[in-house]
């Protein structure tokens, strides 16, 4: 495995933190001078975090998340409500995220990110869920990046019976590729997400990803298939993501084939279920009409 062992990494991080705390200069304000503009930004702007948060410390690779974790109604004209992360957390997590490919979803990545952003190494304690917030940052930024990528992929606006299904596969594959840089750390991230206190938030993120993919693929059905489609896509995506953590093929070819096979099976099962339902409804209405034609008053 190319990633360094977790034990030595966390021991190194703990030593680094201890050194910082005990050194008197760590108590001085080099961190506070860069905290001030951020706190000012935090108090004055709650709704437009992505435009006014000071970004002097990091090159923006992905936009700061602006939508909250549960959004039952999406408005096209009203500004989006504040995202799941405060501006301070966003700065810190964005800086820490750049260290994830080398240090994993760990306290050392958070500490290095805090240092990059100009904070004290102890600053990650302001992030409420610790390393899970870093995992959540990855999930949220990758999900919100799908909208821009879908515009790039589907700009031609083709129509057809299987367009939605092919777009779902394309979007799911795009999202899986978003894991490519952190795939070696992803099993650790899954273990973090599986902790009982974080399971609800993780499952919610998976559900929101499935909803985002179906919406961007152009699905407009609002009958019970709304639920079955999202449930099946969540299961398929989670399985493909897990498969990808052990995939050594070039360009994650095997994962792409795995995804294609699972989506094919799901659509076949959907066809079978729809055919059975249609047959039952036709038979029932034909039976009722036969009885009516015989004079039965129904």
């Amino acid at each position: 495995m190319p990633s360094p062992p977790a034990a030595s990494r966390s021991a190194g991080a703990a030593a680094a933190v201890a050194r910082r705390i005990l050194h008197p200069s760590s108590l001085l304000p080099p961190g506070t001078t860069s905290l001030k503009p951020c706190l000012r930004a935090a108090t004055t702007t709650t709704t437009h975090a992505h435009t006014t948060t000071p970004r002097h410390h990091l090159p923006a690779s992905l936009p700061i998340p602006t939508r909250t974790s549960s959004r039952p109604y999406h408005s096209y004209s009203h500004p989006p409500p504040p995202g799941p992360f405060t501006p301070t957390e966003s700065l810190l997590l964005a800086a820490a995220y750049r260290h994830v490919p080398t240090h994993g979803f760990s306290a050392s990545a958070l500490a290095l990110g805090a240092r990059d952003a100009g904070y004290l190494d102890i600053s990650p304690t302001i992030v409420p869920d610790g390393v899970f917030s870093l995992v959540q940052w990855h999930l949220v930024t990758q999900r919100e990046a799908l909208a821009a990528r879908s515009v790039a992929l589907f700009g031609d606006g083709q129509k057809g019976p299987n367009v939605v299904a092919s777009r779902v596969e394309a979007l799911a594959w795009e999202r899986l590729l978003g894991n490519a840089e952190v795939v070696w750390q992803w099993q650790e991230a899954l273990a973090i997400m599986a902790q009982p206190s974080y399971v609800p938030a993780s499952v919610k993120e998976l559900a929101m990803l499935a909803d985002e993919i179906w919406f961007l693929a152009g699905d407009v059905a609002v009958d019970p298939t709304w639920y079955t489609k999202r449930a099946s896509l969540s299961a398929i995506y989670a399985a493909a993501e897990l498969f990808m953590t052990n995939d050594r093929s070039l360009g994650f070819r095997d994962t792409q084939e795995f995804l294609r096979r699972r989506l094919q099976e799901a659509s076949e099962m959907g066809n079978v279920a729809r055919s059975v339902r249609e047959w039952l409804s036709f038979t029932a209405s034909a039976g009722i009409n036969v009885l009516r034609s015989k004079g039965v008053q129904i």
Binding site: T47, Y73, S77, H78, P81, V220, D223, P224
Partner: protein, 260 residues
């Protein structure tokens, strides 16, 4: 307070048979009014050419001022999503009630076929309106969709088998509840709009359009209520029992669909 159907009946004392002629064509969907526009196509201003960066275009037309819209609060968002969800469930139930009621009622009284067809078409249009709204605003449909489908079809069929008066009483009960329900939603939306205007914010077209749509649909539902009462809904035998039970069921279904 005089009921809507009484006011309308007092204003238009025509015979029931004449009412079957589509007098209500004039209050059908607004898209029919577009064909009556007096502006000729040639007189309408053509769209500016693509990539028109020439100076003569820029100075005459100013770009529309960006609207200052307040972000929606979580309670407003919850209200909007549950309102749209309940409305879709209600229109689904209405279409299924009419589908199930039509064969038994029309078998006994064939002259009611145009009325039943007209009411069904309006409900189907409402359902597709709400389906489009739910898909556009990413609101989830009610999880009890199959249950409401079965119950609505069962209600429609059983009241139709009891007789035309019972079928009309069912329509009367459902439309009374639905009319009150839409009124409450419109009132709440208007309160939201008044609150924004009082705070100095603009109101987006999204909300004005939503209020306009809900008003139109409420008016069409009250029109159905009017038809039902004209066709002897009040003469159904245990009228108090039928309408009481159906209205209570509607209120319960609305309450559940808002949550689930």
């Amino acid at each position: 307070m005089a009921t809507p159907h009484a006011i309308l009946r007092a204003a238009n004392p025509t015979t029931p048979a004449a009412r079957l002629v589509p007098r209500h064509v004039s209050i059908l969907l607004p898209c029919s009014r577009r064909h009556l526009s007096s502006t000729s196509r040639a007189a309408a201003t053509p769209a500016p050419p693509n990539g028109g960066t020439s100076a003569d275009n820029g100075t005459t037309t100013t770009p529309p001022k960006p609207k200052n819209l307040k972000p929606l609060t979580p309670s407003q968002i919850d209200f909007l999503s549950s309102a749209l969800r309940v409305n879709q469930a209600g229109e689904l139930a209405a279409t299924l009630i009419y589908t199930a009621q039509t064969p038994p009622v029309v078998r006994r009284e064939p002259h009611l076929r145009p009325l039943m067809a007209h009411m069904y078409e309006q409900e189907a249009a409402h359902l597709s309106t709400f389906n489009a709204l739910l898909a556009r605003h990413r609101v989830r449909p009610t999880a009890l969709y199959p249950l409401w489908s079965v119950l609505a079809a069962g209600l429609g069929w059983s009241t139709a088998v009891l007789g035309r008066e019972a079928a009309m009483a069912c329509t009367e009960a459902v439309e009374t509840e639905i009319g009150g329900h839409y009124n409450g939603q419109i009132r709440q939306l208007l309160e939201m709009v008044a609150g924004w205007e009082a705070e100095g914010y603009d109101v987006g077209d999204e909300f004005r359009e939503l209020i306009r749509t809900l008003r139109r649909i409420r008016d069409e539902e009250l029109e159905h209520l009017d038809h039902a009462v004209e066709h002897d809904a009040q003469k159904a035998e245990p009228h108090w029992l039928l309408t009481g039970a159906i209205r209570a069921g509607c209120r319960g279904a609305i309450w559940v669909s808002e949550k689930v």
